[in-house]
Amino acid sequence: MHLILFLIFAGLCLAGAINLLLQSHPINSALSLIVVMTSLAVLYLLLGAEFLAAAQVIVYAGAIMVLFTFVVMLLNAGREEHILGSRVAKTLGFPAVTAILAIIATVILHAQGLGVARLSDGITSTEELSSVLFTKLLLPFEVTSILILIAILGAVALARHSEGNAGSQGSSERTGEE
């Protein structure tokens, strides 16, 4: 059962990621990215990370991608245009990426002692996770909240000062998201 679920959702994940590259309109890319993130949530659940699966759906597929689709629609982004032939990126980039992927795959396939994942494996409960997060890692948690506060202020400051009303809409959406 685990194998079947893995194959279905890994396939969805890869299909969504490839579709993101093939589509030329940003809204189609955004929708395929939502497919990728939602299937990743199922994979997290298969690996026993229940809190992260929920957070993946809420934060990534919910908040961040809503923000992306909102900006795509707000800016009325059209189809992609290729003006300068970006030949360098393609001729140098593809072999480099293929080489990196091959190296990583070789290392992974030769790794010793990697276990297996079963459906009967235990699930890391949210209680376990939060007891570590709020005792040992309390300081990083608080620092992250300050980071997000600064990000809200920065987003509002960046999107506001102008004559258009697009900025005020964007900033109010953004503060609501956090």
Binding site: A17, A77, I83, A111, L147, A151
Partner: protein, 107 residues
């Protein structure tokens, strides 16, 4: 078919999937010429790395790997907010999202 139901998945498959997602993100960043789509490719790379964090947390039965993913998610949320605000500001100044047209620091 019953053997297919009973089988477990080696963790290396999860790691391979995460490497593939990361590489697709890199390819998207290099190939796409739209500012928003390039930004989405960065999110795809972050998701690929998150998957390998969760896989290793499963391997070592450690909670800290999952907590790291949680932090990555929060930083990604902050990054998306600031990045999209910058994209809105750039669009307002240049009226385009094509990175080939945004090649000067000053107007």
């Amino acid at each position: 078919m019953s053997s297919l139901f009973a089988r477990e998945v080696p963790l290396s498959w999860y790691l391979l999937l995460s490497a593939a997602l990361f590489s697709l993100g890199v390819v998207g960043f290099l190939v796409k010429r739209n500012l928003i789509t390039m930004f989405m490719s960065i999110e795809l790379m972050l998701n690929g790395v998150n998957l390998s964090f969760v896989t290793f947390a499963h391997q070592w039965h450690a909670v800290k790997g999952q907590i790291f993913v949680f932090f990555v998610m929060m930083v990604a949320a902050a990054e998306a907010a600031v990045g999209l605000a910058i994209i809105i500001a750039v669009f307002r100044a240049r009226a385009t999202l094509a990175v080939d047209r945004i090649d000067r620091m000053k107007l």
